[in-house]
């Protein structure tokens, strides 16, 4: 019975996302050195990553700095951050929403783990 309910919910999710809303939203520009997250209702979004000591939580202060990796929101609700100048390497990252919620990048299919969380991974060539 539970399997049927589970399958029904997943089917509902897929059809909800797929039927009348199948057309994907357009990105503003091709911005290869930027991270984007469309989340219009959020009060704050940060990028926590290996490159910024996960917002400072694994550095001297041990506190997530509310300014570290802070993304800027435009009128459409799109949060952006520029990664220009990041040294080459492999980095894990996640979005930190409203000061308590970790989410992976929904439009980055490559994932990794950080402290038991599923996060995203990005490779910077230079």
């Amino acid at each position: 019975m539970m399997r049927i309910i589970t399958a029904a919910i997943i089917l509902l999710l897929l059809t909800t996302a797929g039927c009348s809303f199948l057309t994907p939203m357009q990105k503003p520009l091709d911005q290869p050195n930027r991270l984007l997250l469309w989340l219009p209702g959020a009060s704050s979004v940060q990028v926590l990553s290996d490159w910024n000591d996960w917002g400072g939580s694994v550095a001297a202060g041990g506190i997530i700095d509310p300014v570290s990796g802070r993304m800027e929101k435009d009128e459409s609700g799109l949060w952006t951050i520029d990664l220009e100048g990041l040294p080459g390497g492999v980095y894990r990252y996640a979005f930190y929403v409203n000061g308590y919620k970790w989410i992976r990048d929904p439009v980055n299919p490559e994932t990794a783990e950080f402290e038991g969380r599923t996060v995203s991974i990005i490779m910077v060539a230079k």
């Binding site: 997943i10 994907p24 209702g41 009060s43 694994v58 506190i63 300014v67 000061g99 308590y100 402290e115």
Partner: protein, 419 residues
Amino acid sequence: MSISLVTLIIIISGNADSTNVSLIPESWDFGYDCLFDAAASGNWNGNHPVIDSTYADAAVSLRASSPEVDFLATGALRSDSLSRVVFRRGRGVVKWPGTPWIGAGVYLNDQQPFIAGLSNPVLEWGWVDIDSIQGYGVSSGGVLGFKGDYLIQFTRGDTLSQLNVYSPWMGFAGVDYSRAQMHTADSSGSNITVNVLSVRGDFRYFRPWLIVAGSEGGEGEWAVSAELRSIHPVDTQWGKIEVVPGMHFAGDNIQFPGSAFVPGQRVITLGAFLESRRYFVSAGIKGMLDLSSDSLSGVSASAGMISEGGIATDMIFGYYADGDYRAYVSSEARDSNASAGIAVEIINDSTRVTGSASYAPRDDVCAELSVSGDLDDSLQPACFLAVTTALGPVRCLIGIEWQYDTSPSLRINLTGLFK
């Protein structure tokens, strides 16, 4: 909540900038910032909440810089419900600016080892208990663009040293080398040595990434990870598909504290990832074949899309040869100031459903509600209501959490940065 620590934060935040002190040469620049995190939590008792736990953290950083030297000192303090102020972490770093530069630092409870790998770090956070660390570090660089640092740390009688050398980008390749050594002081006297060479290249049509790791060169103490990136069989204005072949081999006697390598593993991987340049849509699938046993064989997939109608969908699936499987599907309708969604997470025989909704009356205020429960007889429902604000560098959260076998708990959190 500790009065003393809060007073300290207020004094620091209220002081004017000290750059005009006449005894200080004009070429010097001074600054400070104070990062604070205060929280209170409690339970619901009858009709009113009772606060039973508080703490206040502050990380105070002082900076002084001149054309000749940069100095940064950070001290992290915590005050508990008994108003005791405890020094938790700290670091002082002095650096000669410009190129070439040289730096040195003293660290307390800071700078744990981290060496990046491909999908998983070779060494990562959590290996050493942070509360037990004190150490020193030197760094240098500038010669032909190379940089390096050396850290030596002492943790409960053990000694950990880490040497890192980073090359500049040499037109077609970059090379990093790391060596970490742990000498234990207990009777076992066991030592762990990790050498890691990371090479990333760019040959226009593909980008090889190679991680070679080993211990002291003994039999079976080696590991290799490699991936070929940027192979794009389909590359259009709409988007591109990247095919990523890879391999992860390790000797039978390799010792790594992280999850990057498993002794004796012989795993080859093949991934394909779709990324759109013009639209918020992506998908990926990755297969792993374990040549030595079936334990690491499996397939994983993920996909995400944001539709024009404002529906954000996120899916992750994983199935492994040992029978483990995992699936996560979420769909959320978002508007400019409200959202509602549902998520299903399946881990083997356990299925949990979460419904969520949020409302943002202003750009800097958001209220969120989530309700979750297992799809089995136990149900184990849970509920979380949070109101968050973000006013410049100050953030506040007020949350109420309830789980099926506990009374509701209250959480208030205030985080901010004063400069």
